[in-house]
């Protein structure tokens, strides 16, 4: 029997498999016609128990561009979850209708519960503050396309590093590449959790923590911005004192490298000034496009479909 593969955490994929996905994503751009009907008669279910714009739409766009079809729901209130149905029952049912499932759930570990109750591949589209592996694949593809490599670089991660799941997954993924240095830029209150620091130390990574963007800017090859949420702070005074230090504007970019790649998982609120959008180093909307391409490659990989040579 064919082994069912899921993507719950980025570590479910080997480096070779990630490289393979990036190659297919690039091939999709170069040979788009070869993929137009490759998933004909296949159905993707997008089960979003909490709202999302980019992730859900990019999954659906990805499947449609592969010639497949999509079904699902975009909020828990329009599913049987509103009647109290368990995650495992929902997934087991939907597994009878779809060939592959992409799901987002506010509770951490929900996709693991789902994967145990169905024989179709499950893709984790975000489980609370836990993992968001397809965002990580998106980030890796963006970095690869912009830099031509995933090793030998200094990556700055800025903002809410405590609760930011995309940051945790990206660190975990980039740790597997040679000579990647991490600069963690955040207020003390929002530093990465201890288990991430343990992982950095276990892997012998070169990393440091700083409290302002200015301290780190000149050495960065990648700047990964995240949003600082007001509600994460213990008091309003701290929020007001710190929030401007983590807003990226053209002035702060004055010392940055010319080939810096500025990324953001989106949505942004005010942490990147709109004046930065026209700077050639701003890559966050390109990143959103990469999200569709890598999800196309992932769907093909999990369904075991390859294009004919």
């Amino acid at each position: 029997m064919k082994e069912i593969r899921n993507l719950i955490n980025i570590t479910d994929l080997t480096l070779e498999e990630i490289d393979g996905l990036i190659d297919v994503a690039n091939d999709i751009v170069e040979n788009h016609e070869a993929y137009e009907d490759i998933c004909a008669h296949k159905k993707l279910a997008t089960l979003f128990f909490e709202p999302s714009t980019r992730t859900r739409l990019s999954f659906e766009a990805a499947m449609l561009e592969l010639g497949g079809s999509v079904l699902g729901f975009s909020e828990a209130s329009s599913s049987s979850a509103a009647k109290g149905e368990s995650v495992s029952d929902t997934i087991q049912t939907v597994g009878c209708y779809a060939d592959i499932i992409a799901m987002r759930h506010p509770k951490e570990g929900a996709p693991i519960v789902g994967a145990r109750r169905t024989t179709v591949p499950i893709i984790n589209g975000g489980d609370g503050g836990h993992f968001h592996p397809t965002q990580t694949l998106t980030d890796l593809l963006t970095i690869k396309r912009k830099k031509g490599r995933l090793d030998n670089m200094t990556v700055g991660l800025c903002g809410d590093l405590k609760f930011g799941r995309t940051v945790h997954s990206l660190i975990e993924a980039m740790l597997r590449y040679e000579n990647v240095k991490f600069v963690l830029i955040s207020p003390q209150e929002l530093q990465v959790p201890d288990y991430i620091k343990e992982r950095l130390n276990e892997e012998g990574a070169d990393w440091k923590e700083v409290e302002t963007l200015e301290e780190a800017m000149s050495e960065l090859d990648i700047l990964y911005m995240t949003r600082i949420q007001r509600e994460r702070f213990f008091n309003e005074e701290d929020y007001i004192r710190l929030k401007d230090s983590f807003i990226l504007d053209l002035k702060k970019l004055e010392t940055a490298k010319e080939d810096l790649v500025i990324m953001h998982p989106l949505p942004r609120v005010n942490e990147i000034s709109t004046e930065v959008d026209d700077d050639p180093r701003a890559c966050y909307f390109f990143q959103a496009l990469c999200g569709k391409h890598i999800r196309m490659a992932l769907i093909l990989f999990l369904l075991g479909i390859k294009r004919e040579a």
Binding site: S86, V87, S88, H105, P106, K107, E108, G109, A110, I112, V113, D127, G128, G129, H130, Y195
Partner: protein, 140 residues
């Protein structure tokens, strides 16, 4: 005080003093057919005081559970009045329905009849992580 020796059964020794009733309940010995003696505050050269459970009769002991409760526990298997095997407990690699995840954001907080599972990640520090949400669970 004299308690008759076990003829065919199990002696759970080196239980931390005062914990024998908890071990008795966790193992489900109240439902066992065997004759069970609970000895508390026995002298111990190693720990000062200890508790002991003597089970005379066949009983399926959950060693993972014992190892989790107290890894200092030893289990003596007795046959025909003689100890034939001595087992030293250790922290099990996996826990199933022994402890509950306390992370309110974990799926275990809402999913019906879910099995609470942990995996051992640091034996020295006695740290487990929830298999669903990775929340830390430290053995006290």
């Amino acid at each position: 005080m004299n308690i008759d020796g076990v003829k065919n059964g199990i002696v759970i020794d080196h239980i931390k003093a005062g914990k024998s009733i908890m071990v008795y309940n966790l193992l489900g010995l109240d439902k066992a057919d065997a004759c069970v003696a609970i000895i508390t505050n026995a002298d111990s050269t190693k720990y000062g005081k200890k508790d002991i459970l003597k089970i005379d009769g066949m009983f399926d002991v959950d060693y993972d559970l014992l190892g989790y409760v107290d890894s200092n526990i030893t289990v003596n298997i007795v046959e025909d009045g003689k100890m034939v095997k001595k087992l030293h407990m250790e922290l099990p690699e996996h826990l199933k329905n022994v402890a509950k995840c306390k992370n309110p954001r974990c799926i275990t907080s809402i999913e019906q009849e879910i099995v609470h599972e942990f995996k051992l990640v640091n034996k020295e520090k006695k740290i487990y992580r929830c298999v669903y949400c990775d929340a830390e669970h430290k053995v006290k």
